[in-house]
Structures are given as structure tokens and as C-alpha cells.
Symmetry: C2
Subunit: 355 residues, 2 copies
Amino acid sequence: MNIPANFPASTAMKSTAPKVTIEVVAKKAGVSKGLVSFALNNRPGVSPETRVRILEVAKELGWKPSLRARSLSTQRSYALGLVIARNPDVLASDPFFPSFIAGVESILAPEGRALVLSVVPDEETELHTYRSLVADGRVDGVFVSDLRHNDARIPLLAELGLPAVTLGRPDGPSPFPAVTVDDTPGVMASVAHLATLGHRRIAHVAGSSTLLHGLRRRAAFAAALEAAGLPAGQTVETDFSVAAGSDATRRLLTQDHPPTAIVYANDPMAIAGLGMAHELGVRVPDELSITGYDDIDFCRYVYPPLTTVSAAPMVWGRSAASTLLTLMENGSADDVDLPAARLVVRGSTAPPSDR
Amino acid sequence: MNIPANFPASTAMKSTAPKVTIEVVAKKAGVSKGLVSFALNNRPGVSPETRVRILEVAKELGWKPSLRARSLSTQRSYALGLVIARNPDVLASDPFFPSFIAGVESILAPEGRALVLSVVPDEETELHTYRSLVADGRVDGVFVSDLRHNDARIPLLAELGLPAVTLGRPDGPSPFPAVTVDDTPGVMASVAHLATLGHRRIAHVAGSSTLLHGLRRRAAFAAALEAAGLPAGQTVETDFSVAAGSDATRRLLTQDHPPTAIVYANDPMAIAGLGMAHELGVRVPDELSITGYDDIDFCRYVYPPLTTVSAAPMVWGRSAASTLLTLMENGSADDVDLPAARLVVRGSTAPPSDR
DNA sequence: GATTCCCACTGAACCGGTTTAGAAAAGGCT
DNA sequence: AGCCTTTTCTAAACCGGTTCAGTGGGAATC
């Protein structure tokens, strides 16, 4: 740590900080602390003129109530929490969270609320993290993402009495509002698109079946095949990671009657699948059609560009944040159903070559 | 928001919470509040037996000091901040932050500290965000990433008196410790690798020159060419985004004497470049060699797999977090130089075909 | 035995807000 | 005018810790 001599010492600069507290404002306005507090939080019981005067003095003195003091007396933290339990590899290749968080922030920042983020390695730590966030009073509410079958977080959060919003609808009972982007239509549209092109052997590289969205996309895949009058397709389960997507693709393509099209449960796996197809000398889309899910930025720029399903994580983040704030304010909030993800057709899908 | 009748109401569950405070502990242990505080923070002035007794009572009662109360009296928040100012697109395609944050968390969590994350759209908002984090006392220290030329954050943070750690060494004077991964050797190794293979026309798709790491990689590129006795290479500046990487590649490849190798300032752009090469019918690595930077997960699974430079963002996160904690504890901390990023040779580089 | 010193410990102030009980002032009604 | 109600405002308690000045007792010093 090098401190050049000419650099202003940090301590020297914050010389005369007069610490303007509510007490100072009260004195200057000639009223009691309590009244200043009332005026600030526009509570009844303050005459209009006094209120104005107090607020003027406050502004003049540049007073901002201390978040810490306020936290102590109100027992709230004015912050929301997001706990992410994901394998670091999967997390790193999936742009969902950065976008989601950007959306959340766009709502929280103007409200003066902060986002406390925790990234944890496994589910046990995850539950523990929720507990300590509550015990420490770090957050007033949380986002629950990556819902799992019979998710243990729902009853835990209910027990802790912590307001929460779920990203998607849990499969069990839940006292919390859900903000949902239905992914079923997108997956069904993918399959329908492939069926229309003439594909009959369509496989699915599914995500983890412990995750609801993994399960749901898989079910949608099966349903869509049936709707199209096609036989059940081969399904390979993965953990959503790029590596697993690659492996699954190899397995599918090196068997006797390989599929002519593969529907992937997310884009990173689809991109890995594209790479694997190239490696195996299988031409896309001539010999193999590929679809992804999420419409991450990469999709447009790989070759061929990826047919995929476009969700809108940023909008999701905004909506989830608003819903959570409403819940905390009113004690209740309605479920929100965002527009379903839509199929975006690009170059990675084409009619099958054989037959 | 649907509450099934059989679901335990959240309020019903937190029925009798006896609120165990320091007062309760003190009473039960037969000592004063102050002494409990002393015992807890192992301060001198408490006899060994009393200390043990107090701690036993505390454990028995399950007492955890209130973070909020502690925050108010110590004027600290026990949280660290990370402010990210990036175009959402770039942020989404770059897995640096998720990994970095995972590393940071692995250090903070055991210490009982939280990470407050802010994602902001531009630099002005960024500075404002730092100010309010301090004004609200949300954090005790911050990470400064994506250093820019003559970075305005350094003097601001110094003025605010907020402890900070910079990711990389700023180009101006800085009172803060820097945790650095030198990216120069990696870029130089890339160029040397290409030169050894026989490439003579090597181009660079650079990142934004407002960012120090963009500038540095660009300088390293130029220096490496010179060291290899090659003429200055063509350089196209971008904003690090996938889209820009794709455009830059098209421009480079559709000119008269296209380069036989391109060194990209990050992996996402390299992957986009790979896609563009395919689209233009330029075979990689036969007609064009490509190198990236960061070694993101995708590199291994695109085709051909990408030769790149491997940094270790997670280790970087851990190291930055430790350094920041040390700084806050001791009032000073040493710079840390992490092992330089290393070249990883994969399939996207080969000897040039022509000549 | 008196003085000094040190150590363990207490009581109260303090951090900076919110909240409540109740006093003072203002207004309404007969 | 006298009484009751309502409104405006104050004082003090409270949130739950930390910190500091000061008390009391025991050992060490002379």
C-alpha cells in the first residue's frame, strides 16, 4: 500500500464534520425531537406550518436521519436479500442473475433500499444463511429463486416470518406472492416449431429435476411431443452446466439412431451442444437442429445463431422487487404473471436432412 | 397470493419470542450489562472465571448481540460494498463478477459480514451510490473494480474516508491497497504463441480504453508484437460486449489483407469472433487463429475450444476480501500480487495456412 | 498499619432515532 | 362563561448494545 506524499490523507479531509442529528434540527426549529420525527414521517399531529418549518430547517442543515438509529428503533433494516445457491460453474455461465439483479436494483435504489447478496455453495448453507440474515436483522424481505420441488425454504421463511417473493410458483403451499414467467409455452413452441419443420426424433437435454423450472420445461417438452403426435423423445438430465450439456450432447449424437433435433433447457448447454456437434462433424442445422432457452446475448453471435426462447430477467427483477416492496408495505401482494417467454427463431433450426 | 387454509400462518408461529438481550444475560449472570459486553468482546478487565460464566449463560440463553444495536453504538455496519457500473449486456455475458462474488462470500460469510451489492447504469450514478452507501452507513468498506484511467472513485473514497481495495493498481496515486492479477504476461504469451506458430498479421480486438485493463492488454499486445519483431498490428477498440466483438471481427476479416490471427481482450468477444468467422466461411484455426482472455467455462466447449488466458476470479475475490478486512482491522494492508494469468492453449490456434 | 496500586466490576451516559403518555393550547357547544 | 373535545406539542422511555468515569476490595509496598 503506497501512499504518495502528495496525496491528501483521508483523515485530514473529514476534519470538521458537525454531525447534524435530529436533536440539532429540533433545537434549531425550536421544537422537540419527537415532533421532528413526526414531521419527517408525515404523521398526523403536526400543524401544517410547523411541519413546513421543520422540513425547511432540516433541508437547510442537510439532515438525513441516521439509518442505523432508525434501524434500531424500528427493527427494520431497509434492505432486501437475495441468496443464491448454485454451483459456481453454473452460476458463472448463466447470465440470469446479473440481469435479474440489475432489474431489482433499478427499483430499490430510488427507494433508498439496499440489496444484500449471498452466494452459497449448497442448500444447507443456504438455509443457514436465511436464518442468519433474519437473526442479524440484515434484511426485511428476500427473493427466493431457483425453486425446488417441495422447497424447504418456503416453510422456513414462513416460520421466520420474513416477507418473501418467489420467482415462479412453488409446487407446494406458499404464503408468499409469486412472480412468474411461464416457460411452458416457450418450450412447447420450440417443439412445435421443430415438428413443423419435419423433425420426428427430438431429444431434450433437461436441467436438474430438483429444480422446478427444470421439471417444468421437461414436462412441457413431453406434452408438446404428444400434442404434435410424436413418440416420446429421449431426455437426458443434467445439472444445467455447460460441461453437462456438452456430455449429454455427445451421448445423444453417438448412439445408433441419433435425434435430428435437440431442445436444451438453457442456452449455455445449447451452445456447448453446438460445439459438440461441430466436434463430432455433425452439421447444424443441416443434420441437427438445436434450440436453447433464455436468449442470452451469446445466442445471436454464435454460428449458426441460436433459436431460443426469450425470457426477460431484468423485467422479472423489477417486478419481483416491486412486489416484495408492496408486500412489506401492505402486508400482502398479488401474484404477478409476466408475459410468457417467446420463441425466437434463428439459424440453428432447419428441416431434417434424412428422410 | 394464495394462502391455503392448512398452511401454518406465519404470524401464528412466532408466538412467544422472549427477546433475549444483553440485559437478560447480565441479570442472569448476576453482573452488569457493561461486563457482559466486555466479556463478549474479550476485553481486559474481566476475571477469567466471570468471563467463562458470562459466556456460558449467554450460550445457554442463546444470546446473540443485536447487530443493529451494535451498529448504532460502534458506528459500523459489518458489511462490505461492491458497486458495479456496467452496461447490462456486458455484465450479463461476462462471468467475472459471479465468480468474484462467490470468492468474496467465502471469506465474508464465516466472519458474519454481509455483502451489499449495487448494480448501476453509469458512472455518475456510481459515484452517487458510493456517497449514499457512506451517508447511510451501509458499509464499512468497498471493492473498487473496473478501474478507469484517472479514476474519480479513488479521490472520492479517500475523501469519504471509506476503506477500499482496488482490483488492480490504479494509474494515479492511491491510498488504498491493490489486489492485482497481472494480465500483461498472459497477453504477451498469447502473442508469442501465435508468433511462434508463424503468424505475422496479428490483430487485436481491444476492450474499452477507458478501462485500465483494456488499456493494459492493448499495450501488452503492442509490446509483444514488437518483442517478436513483428510490425504493429491492427487494433479495434470495443466496449467489451459480445456485439462489439462480433462487429470488430467482421471488419477485420472483410478487409483486403485480413489478419491470420486475432487476440481478443476477453472471451465473450472471442466467442462472438468465432461465430463471425464461421459465418464468413473463415475456418478456425486453419485460416484464422483466435485467442481470448479469462478462460470462462464456455471456452472449453465451443468448437474449436478456445485458446485463452486463465485468470482466477474466485481467488481474486477471496484475496480482495481478506485484504479489505485486514485494512479495516489494522488500518493498513499490503498490496497483493496474485499469480499472473497464464496462457491455456486449445484448439483455436494453429499455424497460418497461407505462405 | 497506612498508603499505594491494580484489578474486577458497576452505573450511567451515549449512539440517534421512534413512540407513547400526558400537558398545554385551541376550538366547539350549551 | 364554563365544560368538553380535539389538536399540537413536549418529555421521557425505549430500541440494545458500547464505553467511560468511578467505586470497592485485595495485594503489594513502605
